[in-house]
Symmetry: C5
Subunit: 301 residues, 5 copies
């Protein structure tokens, strides 16, 4: 995620970092080049290209804007929902830390450590990173083997937490109400996992992306030819501005569609997982608390 103070209106015009520009530079340059060639041709050999009414292009352009707007809406909602889920996870963890004061101090340490392990496993899973061993240090030795083998390791960690709480309930250390309270926090954590997996595994219907992507590209390629005879040497400017907007929104939509990646505009999962680690460890009163992650080059991972 880009973290930077919003520069003033003028400086923003020349900001490169955090812009979508680098990603769409090749196709943008191609379209601008094409416009220049058309404009030159038109200058030296007038009337080679038919003089077309701009209204025809207006029509397609506006339809395209509406559909691009729809897709961006959808992709942004996915991104924001993912952020909400991680915000909720931070909340569930803090609540769990507070409410687990009910437990014996050893059990509490164990379940909170496991919760950190859950967070880190989930993070690795969502980012397609190697999950092997990532959370082993947070688990008791006897659980490490099963953890490594389990098809759904983060779910396994939750199972271990539940077992501990259940044992306390069966041993009479917790009333059924208190058992249920803690148990529902575990269900909350599972809820975040399920929601994040849903977002990660179910992209926007591919046919949408395809349809809009194609219309945007075909349209931008037609523009220079269609407008060249009317706009003359302003063609590259106008076409460039339009193509920049359309290509940019198309690319930005694709980036936000999968919010768990490591691209510039993706969510800072590492930083949020670290925040949970800090909260839980400081709630346990431990001494060895890591520092929050800081943005590097305005980018927070």
């Amino acid at each position: 995620m880009i973290v930077r103070p919003r520069p003033n209106a003028f400086i923003m015009l020349f900001s490169w970092r955090g812009s979508i520009l680098p990603q769409i530079a090749p196709q943008l340059l191609f379209v601008i080049l094409l416009s220049i060639i058309v404009a030159l041709f038109e200058h030296f050999h007038p009337h080679i290209f038919p003089e077309l009414p701009i209204a025809a292009f207006s029509l397609i352009g506006l339809a395209l804007s509406i559909f691009l707007g729809f897709r961006n809406n959808v992709c942004y909602d996915r991104w924001w929902e993912a952020r909400k889920e991680w915000g909720a996870l931070i909340l569930h963890m803090r609540n769990f830390a507070r409410e687990s004061l009910l437990l014996h101090v050893d059990v509490r340490r164990r379940v909170l450590h496991r919760s950190i392990g859950f967070t880190q496993t989930l993070n690795a899973r969502l980012r397609n990173q190697n999950q092997m061993g990532i959370a082993e240090r947070w688990l008791p030795t006897q659980e490490q083997h099963d953890y490594a083998e389990h098809p759904n390791p983060s779910d396994y960690v939750l199972l271990c937490i539940q077992r501990d709480i259940l044992e306390c309930y069966k041993a009479g250390q917790l009333s059924d109400i208190c058992y249920q309270q803690l148990s529902s926090r575990v269900a909350n954590m599972a809820g975040t996992q399920a929601a994040c997996e849903r977002i990660r595994n179910t992209p926007v219907p591919f046919a949408y992306s395809l349809l809009i992507h194609r219309t945007a590209y075909l349209y931008s390629l037609l523009l220079p030819i269609g407008l060249g005879s009317t706009l003359g040497f302003l063609t590259p400017v106008i076409v460039g501005l339009l193509a920049y907007t359309f290509f940019g929104l198309d690319a930005l939509g694709s980036e936000l569609e999968q919010p768990f990646g490591i691209l510039e505009n993706d969510l800072p999962l590492d930083a949020m997982a670290r925040a949970i680690e800090i909260d839980l460890l400081s709630s346990l009163g431990e001494s060895n608390i890591p520092k929050p992650l800081q943005p590097v080059n305005f980018i927070l991972q």
Copy 2:
């Protein structure tokens, strides 16, 4: 559901699999052909077609874009809500698996097996597939007959689960709080069924689909005639691009409107039902766990 890595911007232009193109090819070709004929006529017998202002077509086209955008929004929301419900079902099942640790191990196996049966029955029901016998292997023998006869077999499975839990409560093996906790998971499952049935049984008001479908088709048929005299041989290109977008969004909307089918962009219910089966069986520690479903030709069922 199409599952494929997003190809790069260039390759996407020529992707066929997952495109809506095959479905709308006939009508698209017809419109393009019509445009070509009009353009030829216009070339050899100029002024046969009246020269019409494009603005008139702009107006209808934009109104149409707005209404198509509205319908796509609605259809996409149905599709995404259906996906959310199945994501929630996966979550409820995992929670149920964890929380049912409260039960005696035999009862737990029985209710979790029944939960798998519920999922598979629901899947078959939503996809209009033969439900006969599909979940019998997950039920105790004495329930199989009633299951096959029941007007609402998936609801019958939930009734059996509830009866088992209730018995445990009455036998004093569960406190009332714990009974209620498990009972509310059963209610969660019923909630997913009710929501999915709502989406499946209540299409977008037919008059909407009709109104928008008709406007889109009439408009695309009028376009070549109206624009032919102005655009000349570019007519087929411009008209083709517009018709592709309008027909495509119309067809895509219809496909997403009923998200439980087996078309390319529908939801992968089989794969999700399998995921639930894996989660529950591995939570029971059983050995005979099936593999996750894999996409075939980029399509996950």
Copy 3:
């Protein structure tokens, strides 16, 4: 509600049943006729009508499209929320049927029968039908008199259910948790009633409907005059297509705004009330179970 398989793209163009066309036929014909007259005049006495720039009409037309889109959005949301509420009612009833297994079998029969009575009373109330006696057969004799006299008969039925459950609790047959569980299902039913009454009693602010209706009609009347001199004999076609879309969306919005009526696109309350009756009776194991309602002429009431 229209229930029909979506016909193929071609047949849909000529579908009459379920279309909004019959409702708007008079005004549509009037506008088309007007266009023909203008076109004829224009043909025999050219330049009677001033040649107006279409862009002026474009502008109003697009503003109108945006506001019509807004109103349709709002009306559709009301319709869908109403459907969701009835879907939730079906769910609450199924949950109540399952969870009421806690009760003595006689009490259970009584409260479930009353629940059917509640549904049918609510249905009649929402549809402005005669509620007299509609649910009496589902009530014990001693409650029938008060039911008939009560200002809010469906709420009275819920009160009777609550009283029965409360008695069980006071008699020690239910723990407080179980009492609360059943009591909250009664509150769920009341919730559906309140939400449906809200939708039914509070239309979209009348000034909105008025403003948009007027703009749509004035605009469609101006169109032939404004476009006649430019479009010639294509005027009736273009104007007809636009008026069809605008009148159609206006009429469709009005129909969906009140989703509890008995028009073609309204919700099938009778069928849903019947579904609840079937679910509850079969959950009681009764023998005399009615059949589900079937659509007549593609229409489900």
Copy 4:
């Protein structure tokens, strides 16, 4: 709130009551007059006004439509949320009436009477009406003094209800679960108050209203000058239709933005507070039940 059967399409064109027209009549007449003057000038002294391309006005007009659409969306949402909150209040009251059967009949009468007092105080507060004494008759004598002095009198009423329930719990007449059930209904009532206060105290950011209001007015003033030379004597008609739509939506937005007022399109708080009074009194079996409020001149307060 306007309560009237939707008249047929033709009569609606001439409906005055419930229309936004009276509020915007002065500015609308001014703009139409201006258009007439411009048209006359143009007729007698052609070419005084420059012939401007309508497209420039189209552009501003459409941008304006989009932003007006946004603001109307936001204002309508506020209005509908306010209506939902009052619908929810009606529901909470009915639930409270039913669930308070747990209490001793004297306590029940006291808390339900106070609930009516709460509703009426909230109503007066939201409508900026004199709250003095409005609910005193519903309170026990010893609470009337504190009620009159309290900075937040409706909240004080809830406190009194809570105290009564708490006393019952402490006296062992209620189990903790039942105490919590009733207590959460009190929290529900407080929730409605908080939500309504939020809507009432936090208008749409003033800069939005300002920006859109200004653009709409400047635009409508520019229109006659800009279009006069092109449209001739149709200018007043076209400009009038556009100004009617823009002024109307601007004024309607402002009216819905504050839904608790007593303007024609505001919410019928008095009628809803009366409905609650009827429900609670009839649930207490009291004899002296008032009649529901009826609309006067199609307007329900």
Copy 5:
């Protein structure tokens, strides 16, 4: 937040306070000046600038309007969600004040005082103000040190509240249900903090703001050049109106994006924190109750 009665339609046209105008005055003046220069040039040396079709600018302008509309929607939603969260906090505090009547009067005073401290710490944190010592007066002496040292001081305050309640439960002064009720209010407070932190720490993806900002500025700079030859001396008026709308919405979006600041349109956190203080102190029956904050120059902090 601007708090002022909505002035009448005429006066609003000249309102300065609360307008976004001051912020965008420099760039607006620049664009208008540019337009004047272009118009003068065009007057004295006609045909220096090419005569460009306005439709090309229409197209970009409308695409821009749609995307600006999208961004404003998103920013407004953030602002309104933040307001909802603080409204919810006010509600949770009132509920907590009422439900804490269960506690011993000393404990109650302690936890309510701490709740005020929590609010003020959260307020300072969200506004990036110095949190040092801000809430110390509301904490018992022995907690002040840890509070000052804690990485997350508002969360520490909640921990202290929870400990007190837990102690009461363990000492048998609270049943487990009542403990859970109070504990869930603490979780509610933590929920508000987590949601506010989410909004504060996660801006709208920077690339969006950048893309839309750039398009808006480039477009407004191109406008005078493109339209100068067509509009003549009306250029500054038309361009100024458009630039005012686009710059204004861009700037307003940026202001609402971070709703916790101290700009004119930001949320009045100080006033809401004061309201909570008043509610809690008056619920404790304390005498030393501060006055509500009043708007200064129509601005409430």
